[in-house]
């Protein structure tokens, strides 16, 4: 077990601000606090070389969890052991073992080409020159960064920037990779590049990857195993395949019609989640989605059709409230 968490718990004290000027003044002189549970008694273990996905809606406690494992926050109760260290007291030796990539924060120096940040990290992590050259060549090849290496970061696209963030984080050959929302705000192609790279990277180096995301696709494409977390509690820990059986295996089809369509006409294609005169949202079995879409297009006046996964909040809510959804076996 390269990462172990035992009853890991994190509570925050949040200052309560009453509205109004008097409230503002009172909070200066006699602040009141409210205890917020970010993570509650979470226990799990991760083996070397695993890719594990933390899945959960925004504010579920995923980022807090990663920050505790990286030693940025210390737990209110419980403990974590990462690569043999207590993250909070691990110091420089521990920090050289992992890399932290935050999807919405960047460590690349904004005004300089990404290569400058690589060089900086080479010095910070004390990587030897031959190792550095080998790593950079490898990463540049895998991520196809040849053309962007010399451009100032501020001129890069979101996707290019995230690829460079990843490369910068990997210069020192970390054994553990913490990726917090690595595909946030990226377009579909860029998301897929990042996913393919992470999987490939693990296969080549045997590194352990822990990623959080609120995109289903990130986790389904990458993770050997998922931890589902909501309101700070661990709801599910296991293989993705087993989960897929529990998750409603449905796809969501959103339709816009060119004229008004009656409810009965739509209902025969699947479970209607919402309907307006010229719009409808259907849920249909995952494996039947292609066929149903074809029929929808030919039999109804469809102006626009999009297929997506149901939002993760709903899936989690449904799975753990006992409801298995339409089309479940």
């Amino acid at each position: 077990m390269i990462i172990r968490a035992e009853s890991l718990t994190k509570h925050y004290r949040v200052k309560v601000r009453d509205p109004g000027l008097r409230g503002a003044l009172r909070s200066v002189f006699r602040p009141r606090y409210r205890e917020v549970v970010a993570v509650e008694s979470v226990t799990f273990g991760i083996r070397e070389g695993e890719i594990v996905g933390f899945l959960g809606p925004n504010g579920a406690g995923k980022t807090t969890m990663i920050k505790m494992l990286a030693g940025l926050l210390y737990p209110t109760r419980g403990r974590a052991v990462v690569a043999g260290y207590d993250p909070w007291t691990g110091g420089a030796a521990f920090r050289s073992r992992f890399a932290l990539v935050l999807g919405n924060k960047q460590q690349l120096v904004w005004d300089l080409p990404p290569e400058e940040t690589f060089l900086l990290n080479r010095a910070i992590y004390a990587v030897s020159w031959p190792d550095y050259r080998r790593r950079v060549d490898e990463l540049v090849g895998l991520l196809r960064l040849e053309d962007v290496l010399g451009k100032p970061v501020r001129q890069l696209s979101q996707g290019e920037r995230m690829k460079c963030e990843l490369a910068a984080a990997l210069i020192h050959h970390p054994r553990i990779l913490f990726l917090d929302e690595p595909t946030l705000g990226l377009d579909i192609t860029a998301q897929e590049t990042i996913r393919a790279f992470v999987r490939d990277y693990r296969d080549r180096t045997g590194a352990t990857v822990l990623l959080t995301s609120h995109y289903m696709a990130d986790v389904t494409a990458l993770a050997d195993r998922v931890l589902i977390i909501n309101h700070g509690r661990l709801l599910y820990d296991g293989a993705l395949g087993a989960l897929a059986e529990r998750i409603a295996p449905v796809k969501r089809v959103e339709l816009t019609f060119s004229r008004e369509v009656a409810g009965a006409e739509v209902e025969r294609f699947g479970v209607v989640r919402s309907r307006e005169p010229r719009r409808a949202t259907l849920e249909v079995p995952r494996d039947g989605v292609a066929q149903v879409s074809g029929r929808l297009l030919s039999e109804l006046p469809v102006a626009d059709l999009t297929i997506s996964d149901p939002p993760i909040e709903e899936v989690i809510g449904r799975v753990f409230a006992g409801e298995t959804g339409a089309g479940a076996p």
């Binding site: 109004g20 000027l21 503002a24 003044l25 200066v28």
Partner: protein, 281 residues
Amino acid sequence: MRVEATTSRQPPSPRGVSRLRRLAAVLRAFWAVNLAEELQYRANLLASVVGTGFWLGTAVLTAAVFFRQTPALGGWSFWQVVALLGVFNAVAGVVEAVLRPNVGRIVEHVRRGTMDLILSKPVDAQFQVTFRRIVIWRGVDIVLGLGLTAAALVIGGRWPGIVEVVAFVVALAAAVAIAYAIWLGLMSLAFWFVAVENLSILFDALYESARFPVTAYPGAIRFVLTYLVPMAWITTVPAGALTGRVGPGFALVSALVAAAALALTRLLWRVALRRYTSAGG
């Protein structure tokens, strides 16, 4: 969004009264949103009062350091200089409340391309970049600054007559207009020097000289501050008009200077805009 709703109902190029009414409507819309935002941060009021009080104290003590060694600075007594410092702070308040959060952002508009959005609206662009938002807490600077001026007049023992007060009001309005013209002029230069983000700092550097009456400077500097970078008109003339150090006629000259400065920067602004639109952003 509300701005567009208010303006798009009107015909594209109204004139005269209807134009003024429309500008007023735009202003109301700008500031309603702005006020709602600012009210989120009420604790800033207290911080503003404390901060302004501290800086006023610092300014007065600075003057006191000089007056330990001399009975007058450029012919001005201690309390006359303190009255000037009040004006200095009040105009600085206008700068922080209105100019910096608006005119100071022009460079950002150019860099981020939001300038195109502004130009696409059916309202004069200069008007839009000038009055978009106000940081109302900095109004504290204006109130406390004028309060300091009044206190200095009382302690100094010479209460101004009605003519002097009128001259002061005219000169102060002119001072604000001149400050605005300098800001807009500096920011228009931003269209040429987009890389220089902090051009507005130049105003701060120049304004530092307005802490003292222009007559306290050596001759060459006095000339520069009066005719080249018109800092003398921002604090020396209004405070001088109020304390009787400067004749009321100067207030009228001041108004002329302000008008000239406004016209000149309006011209510069238009040239800058033309350059911007022809360069395609």
